[in-house]
């Protein structure tokens, strides 16, 4: 036993896991599948974009209708993600800290937007908010119109993004050490001070990650939005719909150009999210 453990120890430092078989085959398969399904198709998009001249590309991605769609998509996504940060934090807090009747069901229900197909969410929200719907019939007389305009888009995006914030903040809150709060109280902090100075800084990275995820998802969202948006050019037309519209007119070059812009943005957001997650891990796991 002794000799074997002595033999394992230095090897362990060099290559800790080569004892387990299957590295080459799983890595090979993973890379092959990744290339076939994701990388080669996405590179088709990039190559197609490079067949355009710069002027063609620029015209396609900065047309007035496209610019209006960027403003709408980013504005609505930003508002929806901010609303989700506030209510997502609240829901996560309530689910972690308090006991109440039906908590397990509420907890399970939070994932509904992940499981419910977006088209179903779209038609159902539209039915609710339209002038004759359960909610719309009370709001319409007051002059509040939530369906078939930008308001509807924001509501659909709140629905889609909600679980992202809750599910990133929840585990961090669960792991938070109560001792820190006790210490803060002993040192004379009020509950609000404890929250803003002790608890909030420890969950801020998770909150930002959830925000970025909800935002990224909202920008690309299509299914739930198109039913409720009304889809009027310049007013309530989102960027993914612009791509579809160009495709339906066989304007492949234009569709590709706009899609490339969206791809670059989602890639940047992905890197930001990854950076935030690393930050969060270092915050919670690293030396204080």
């Amino acid at each position: 036993m002794l000799s074997s453990s002595a033999a394992v120890a230095p090897a362990k430092r060099r290559a800790p896991a080569r004892v387990l078989p299957g590295f080459k085959i799983t890595l090979g398969y993973t890379l092959m599948y990744l290339c076939l399904i994701v990388l080669i198709p996405l590179s088709a998009l990039v190559f197609k974009t490079f067949t355009l001249t710069w002027d063609q590309f620029w015209d396609a991605v900065t047309g007035p209708r496209v610019m209006a769609s960027y403003r709408l998509t980013f504005g609505a996504s930003l508002i929806a993600a901010l609303v989700n940060v506030v209510f997502g934090l609240l829901v996560a807090w309530v689910l972690v800290r308090y006991q109440f009747f039906g908590k397990k069901i509420v907890d399970a229900l939070v994932d509904l937007p992940f499981a419910l197909p977006t088209a179903v969410a779209g038609i159902s929200l539209t039915a609710l908010l339209a002038g004759n719907g359960w909610v719309g019939q009370y709001l319409e007389p007051m002059g509040v119109q939530l369906a078939f305009n930008a308001n509807g888009i924001v509501i659909a995006l709140i629905f889609i993004g909600l679980p992202f914030v809750v599910r990133t903040v929840q585990p961090v809150l669960e792991d938070a050490e109560k001792e820190l709060e006790e210490a803060a109280t002993c040192l004379g902090a009020s509950r609000w001070q404890t929250f803003t100075r002790v608890i909030f800084p420890s969950i801020a990275p998770a909150l930002l990650t959830g925000f970025a995820m909800a935002f990224a998802r909202a920008i690309g969202e299509y299914g739930s939005v198109i039913f409720i948006a009304g889809n009027m050019p310049m007013i309530s037309e989102i960027t993914p719909l612009i791509i579809i519209g160009k495709l339906e007119q066989y304007d492949y070059a234009g569709a590709t150009a706009v899609a490339t812009v969206m791809l670059v943005i989602s890639f940047i957001l992905l890197l930001v999210i990854n950076g935030l997650q690393t930050w969060q891990r270092r915050r919670s796991g690293g030396p204080v």
Partner: protein, 305 residues
């Protein structure tokens, strides 16, 4: 609980009852408005003209073919992504290698790509003017506006689900158990089957049902590649859209209600999987030190023999 000192100490780490009730109230109202109402509306709208109209809408041949196509798509997509997910999680969680974080990021990539863009890239590859378009036409094969395109787009969109679920789980569990199995003479396959799989099974189930729900419900990507040929390339979500745009509200919500039921079943299975996993984790945590030592003793006896 009753002494004033303890009460004061507790007050430092929790909120006053009225704050607690207000917070719970606000979040329940918010969740009711944004989650419960839309879900209830689906079923209410579907049954608005009675159960017979609901049943008629589901019996329609176009609805049937949409259901069939959705099932076929999920049946191809989920196993393929399952094999990929397990293989990606195995090499990312169990080994250290250069470029690991890049690989992890790339696995996540389809999550942040808009579904519409996902559909478009396959049109650029296999469409009439795409890379393989002329070759496919020569050989009389159809990918875009046909079932293969739908399957491919669905695979892309649901690509990271299972891997994403498994990687953190397998990383948290570490390699010790697998190494022990290998040292004791198990083959790699036996190690995976008897040691790794029981450890990750709840995460695996969760990943599979989420992947399945998304595969059956995907709309954006599929709508780009499908061509919307009724009775042939319409999946359930696309069929919902067509019916809805034709003002056949009851029929649209009837098909949608099936998808909503699928979502509810998904949530139930997911919750059960989570609770079981938590219970198992607790059971392991409650093992007394002697038990752990007995386990190690048994291990070393087996190793010696």
């Amino acid at each position: 609980m009753s002494t004033p000192i303890i009460r004061r100490a507790e007050a430092g780490t929790t909120e006053a009852p009225w704050v607690r009730c207000t917070l719970i109230g606000i979040s329940l109202v918010f969740l009711f408005l944004f989650l419960v109402l839309p879900l209830a509306a689906v079923f209410a709208e579907a049954l608005r003209k009675g159960f017979d109209a609901y049943w008629e809408a589901l019996k329609e041949p176009d609805a049937w073919s949409a259901i069939r196509l959705t099932l076929i798509t999920a049946l191809i997509t989920v196993p393929l992504n399952l094999v990929f997910g397990v293989s990606a999680a195995w090499c990312i969680a169990k080994y250290e290698f250069k470029g690991k974080s890049v690989l992890t990021t790339l696995v996540d990539l389809p999550f942040s790509v808009s579904p519409v863009v996902a559909g478009l890239v396959y049109v650029l590859m296999f469409g009439a003017q795409g890379w393989f378009g002329p070759w496919l036409q020569e050989h009389d094969l159809k990918v875009i506006f046909a079932v293969p395109g739908i399957v491919l787009a669905t695979i892309f969109v649901t690509f990271p689900f299972i891997a994403r679920e498994l990687i953190p789980l397998m990383q948290a569990q570490g390699n010790e158990e697998e190494q022990a199995a290998i040292v004791l003479g198990a083959t790699g396959w036996q190690t995976f089957w008897y040691v790794t799989l029981p450890n990750i099974k709840w995460g695996l189930i969760y990943g599979v049902i989420l992947c399945n729900a998304r595969a059956m419900g995907e709309f954006g990507a599929v709508s780009v590649v499908s061509g919307h040929i009724r009775g042939q390339t319409n999946t359930m979500p696309l069929h919902v859209e067509i019916l809805y745009n034709e003002y056949q509200s009851v029929a649209a919500f009837a098909v949608a209600s099936l998808l909503a039921l699928l979502a509810l079943v998904t949530l139930v299975i997911k919750s059960v999987a989570e609770w079981r996993h938590e219970r198992e984790m607790k059971a392991i945590g409650q093992l007394s030190p002697e038990n752990t030592q007995t386990a190690y003793a048994t291990l070393s006896v087996k190793a010696a023999s």
